[in-house]
Subunit: 327 residues, 2 copies
């Protein structure tokens, strides 16, 4: 039986991933054994899994997780971009140093196993590893010049995952997730939170704040695609990566105005009227340094799949998450 650990398993994507693993299995294994690790779990969250609470910055905790020798480790735990920008120490401690301690703990277990045990590590990186100015579409050979601490931390983790993998201590890869949209639940501290808010809140009959001009263009995929990216990465033949183990993933490039038009098509003008513009210079500044569009040929060639329109992204939310919100 495949033993799977999801670090950050209490978060939205972690929960989606656990449910997907339960419903679709992982590779040849129809019912993998799933352990979630996080600081806390939602009360109405996924069931039928093992849940462990703890802090990923604690080295003893990391050591114990490594010692359990899971077959596949999904690393989704992070301080989000907005908080990493305002709390410099916490961002580096959680987003960078805990990855270092995790990799060192995995290396120690690999050595202790007589170099037999080598886990698959799937790390959720971010398109925040890129910084402006950008080409029209960001290709697979464009430099990482992040303009946030969050982006720098993610880029550093990518480099570590690649080097520990090259040396054969782990078999890892990093996925630069598009901004996940529509996130169910409440707004979070990510500077990107509004991209979901302007769709989710109106669909739930609640006013939403738009802190940027509607000309802002960004790169999106649904929570369902995120879970799909992660399970695909967990079973991918990593030899096909040819040593470049960080991938920009497929997504949808659209402006906020196009997002709003898709919302209008899905739910009508009355719903769209719930979006209120209230420019926030701090968020505008962060978002101005973010990517707008990609040409992720490697990931597409490796079989990663996202939605084909923002309408489809809204549809995923309505089918998967809206019923619960209104139940």
């Amino acid at each position: 039986m495949t033993r799977v650990l999801i670090l950050g398993g209490g978060g939205m994507v972690g929960q989606k991933l656990a449910k997907r693993l339960q419903s679709e299995g992982l590779g040849q294994d129809a019912s993998p054994d799933i352990t979630l690790f996080d600081m806390a779990f939602p009360p109405d969250g996924v069931t039928g899994v093992t849940k462990k609470t703890g802090n990923i910055t604690d080295q003893a905790t990391i050591g114990a997780l490594a010692a359990a020798r899971f077959d596949v480790i999904f690393h989704l735990a992070a301080i989000v971009s907005g908080e990493a920008e305002t709390n410099f120490e916490k961002g580096w401690a959680v987003n960078m140093m805990s990855m270092w301690h995790l990799l060192e703990a995995l290396r120690a277990e690999h050595d202790a196993s007589g170099r037999q045990w080598m886990p698959r590590l799937v790390f959720t990186s971010s398109i925040a590893v890129f910084g402006a100015p950008f080409p029209e579409k960001i290709g697979d050979e464009f430099l990482n010049a992040p303009q946030t601490s969050y982006g720098a931390q993610k880029a550093i983790c990518e480099l570590m995952v690649t080097d520990f993998s090259r040396k054969g201590y782990i078999d890892g890869l990093s996925l630069r997730l598009p901004t996940i949209c529509v996130r169910p639940g409440k707004p979070n501290l990510a500077a990107s939170s509004f991209f979901s808010g302007i769709i989710r809140e109106p669909l739930n009959g609640v006013e939403a704040i738009l802190p940027v001009p509607d000309t802002v263009r960004h790169w999106h995929a649904s929570p369902r695609s995120a879970a799909g990216f992660l399970t695909h990465a967990a079973t991918l033949d990593t030899d096909r990566l040819e040593g470049r183990r960080a991938l920009s993933l497929p997504g949808i490039s659209c402006t906020v105005a196009e997002q709003i038009e898709a919302l209008r098509r899905a739910a009508g003008q009355k719903t769209v009227d719930l979006i209120r513009s209230a420019p926030d210079p701090a968020i505008m500044k962060i978002v101005a340094g973010w990517p707008r569009n990609f040409d992720p040929q490697r990931a597409i060639g490796l079989g990663f799949q996202a939605e084909s329109s923002f309408d489809e992204i809204i549809d995923v939310y309505i089918k998967e998450d809206l019923p619960k919100a209104t139940a």
Copy 2:
């Protein structure tokens, strides 16, 4: 008076840099106050400077260096590429973790100064941050996909230096030095050591081993250019970097065969006959993943200068270092 600290000041480039600062000054200051820090110093090394010995992996030592609040810090200390590849732990401890501790110590001093003191930090990165496959010439927007631990560590340090600078704790930049050639003195553990050896040893009447085919193309600058890059970086207006604080520097792209032809022009066939070919698969594998040519437009635009031919590089060695070797 400008107070300058050179970490790794006992090494070849550190010594060249100290001598250049003594002879040419730094910016408006004709005679800066120079402190060298290293694990050991050459007995016949530069005089008229303060020398401190210690280990950069020791946090208390780093803290004391930060507390001295130098105006300019050159960070040249590193485990070289070959050793970082064979001694994984030591490479990460020295090349990555000591940079982290240095930056954290500088940030603490910056805060303790009421955010008044902000040192210029010039970090010597490397073209090893790049990994094959390459374009014909590596441009300023090409990705960092290192294929050695050394390259990964340098790329990570670049990201840290940029983010600590963006936040205003330091005013730093990273210079991706070409392979420095011709290094005076003895061979070192760098996989690139032979590039100097095949010129230096024959010029001193000693046999040299060539461990790769003479078709290998690589990217070079002299020790004199290295010292020039560093002093130029110490006084550069970093606003001109527009947030991208890691620079690929100018150099000479040539094959080993072209190096040998230049040696023949400078010293004749009898000297060239001292080069003995002895292919070493381990070195060939490392070197195969290294860059061959660059188009470093940003650095050139910012006023960084290197030699214009490999003949000139040999000439620098003959004028600056060969007399001492044969004295």
